[in-house]
Structures are given as structure tokens and as C-alpha cells.
Amino acid sequence: MGRDKTRIRNRIRSLRRLADGMTQQQLADRIGVTRQTVNAIEGEKYSPSLEVAFRIAHTFGQPLQDVFEYETPRSVAETADARSGKSDSTEP
């Protein structure tokens, strides 16, 4: 009955490193939020609005789905199954 907990994962930290070691402050200035908000997004403590998410993706020149990933417990379980090979065994 309980509502599934959802989580938006992201790879902003690795993208910042790839972008010549862009700092959180530099990214924050570009997307128009505070550094603390960038830190909260990176730490997956805060899910940004769609507009900020698009701005982040645009800053790194990546499609949105390459920066953010919507993850539910079901998708986590499926990923874990796929990794352990269970999904192959259940397939006809």
C-alpha cells in the first residue's frame, strides 16, 4: 500500500570533472541557482525543477536522460537482476 520511494539519480559530478573540472560555483552561476543547491542536487538530496534540469543538461551539452535517471525500487531490482543474470534465466 505504501507509496514507492522514487529517486532521481544524476552524474553531474563526473560531468563537471569532464568539463575541465568545473566547480560547483561555476555550474551554479551558469544555471542560476546557489552553490548549495548544486551540492544538494549532486548529493541527490534535492530533485531540481524541469527547467533547472534542462539548464544543467544544456550546460554540459548532454541530453537530459544522460544526466538524470529516474529510479524506482522496481527499476533498481531489475537492474540488480540483470547484473546477476537472473533476468536471463527467467526469459523463455
Binding site: 573540472g21 566547480t23 541557482v33 548549495q36 551540492n39 534535492y46
Partner: protein
């Protein structure tokens, strides 16, 4: 300067010992490759030392502002409510004697807030609120509004019991005070723990 040079040298030596090579043309002059290698290694070193990689981040101006408002509220209006409570217990009469006290508390509250924000602005450059700040504020206000509602209901009850205007006014002020304190506390919890 010597520390910097030492850092570059160590980084370069570490990179060389790992057998790392700079990307680019292998026919490049050795001194240019060494410079690139230094840059790569040093950038790696700075990645480790970058302050924003630390899990704790310095409080934003907005968060400091909330701390200041909470402290001012607790000190000034907390003090007012203690004095007003004492006065009510002694003589729960007219509302007149409470007016100068309330004006003094309001002026003091403004002074403490201005002084606190001036100090905070010197320590941290003020920034505009962003969407997270606004969301935290809205959520906290929504979650603390029940206290003000409860105060209004209690005040109506007091009115039905024919209590003095001084009691009713101060019950309303108390509920406003508690509601605001809860709001600030929830905001600070949201900033610290996220949501």
C-alpha cells in the same frame, strides 16, 4: 611559492612513476609533454583538494538569514512573551500596558535583524533566493500554519469564556510566535537534511 613548486614536482613524479603519459603527439618536445603531465597531475590533485567535493558545504546566505531571524525571534519576542505572561498573571486587565512593550519588542526585533544580516552579508556575499530556497520556505510555512490556526481557535474559545482582551491578544501573539519558530526550525532542518 615553494610549496606550489613542491606540489607540482611531487605530482609530476607520481605521474611519471605510474607510467602515465600525456595525451597528444608523442613527437612533441619533452619539455612540453612534461608541462602537460604536470597540468594533468596537478588538476587531479586539485580534484582531491577542491572544497566543493567535501560533503559539508558552507551555509548559504539564506540559511544564515533564517538562523538570525530565529535567534532574534527567540530573544526578543521570547522575552516579550515572558514579560507579558508575568503581567497577565499579576493583573489580567486592559491591553493598554502591553502596547508600548509590543512596540519596543518590534523595534528591537528590526534592529537585531538588521545588525545580524549586516554581519552575515560581510561574512557571506548575499545571493538571491533560488527555487530550492523558495520551495523550502513554502513547505515550512504550510507545515507550521496549523499552530497559528490553533491559536485562533483557542482565542475564540477565550472570547467565549469572556476572558480579557489582553489575554486574547497575547494568546494570538503566542501562536504567531510559535508558528514562526516552527517554520524557521523546519526550514533549517530542510537545509541540513534535504528533502
Amino acid at each position: 611559492m615553494s610549496i606550489l613548486h613542491h606540489g607540482f614536482g611531487v605530482a609530476s613524479a607520481l605521474a611519471s612513476s605510474r607510467g602515465e603519459e600525456a595525451d597528444g603527439d608523442p613527437d612533441e618536445p619533452p619539455h612540453r609533454m612534461s608541462t602537460k603531465l604536470d597540468k594533468l597531475a596537478v588538476s587531479g590533485m586539485f580534484d582531491i583538494m577542491k572544497p566543493d567535493e567535501h560533503p559539508t558545504v558552507e551555509n548559504s546566505f539564506e540559511e544564515k538569514s533564517i538562523w538570525i531571524q530565529l535567534a532574534a525571534m527567540l530573544l526578543v519576542f521570547g522575552g516579550y512573551l515572558i514579560v507579558a505572561g508575568t503581567m497577565l498573571v499579576r493583573d489580567a486587565g486592559a491591553i493598554g500596558p502591553f502596547i508600548p512593550l509590543l512596540i519596543a519588542a518590534t523595534v528591537l526585533m528590526i534592529v537585531v535583524n538588521v545588525a545580524g544580516h549586516a554581519v552575515a552579508a560581510v561574512m557571506t556575499s548575499p545571493e538571491d533566493c533560488d527555487e530550492r530556497d523558495r520551495l523550502i520556505s513554502w513547505r515550512s510555512e504550510a507545515r507550521s500554519a496549523w499552530m497559528l490556526g490553533a491559536g485562533v481557535i483557542i482565542a475564540i474559545g477565550c472570547l467565549a469564556l469572556s476572558m480579557t482582551p489582553a489575554w486574547i491578544a497575547n494568546i494570538l501573539l503566542l501562536s504567531m510566535f510559535l508558528s514562526q519558530v516552527i517554520c524557521y526550525a523546519l526550514q533549517l532542518v530542510s537545509y541540513r537534511r534535504g528533502f
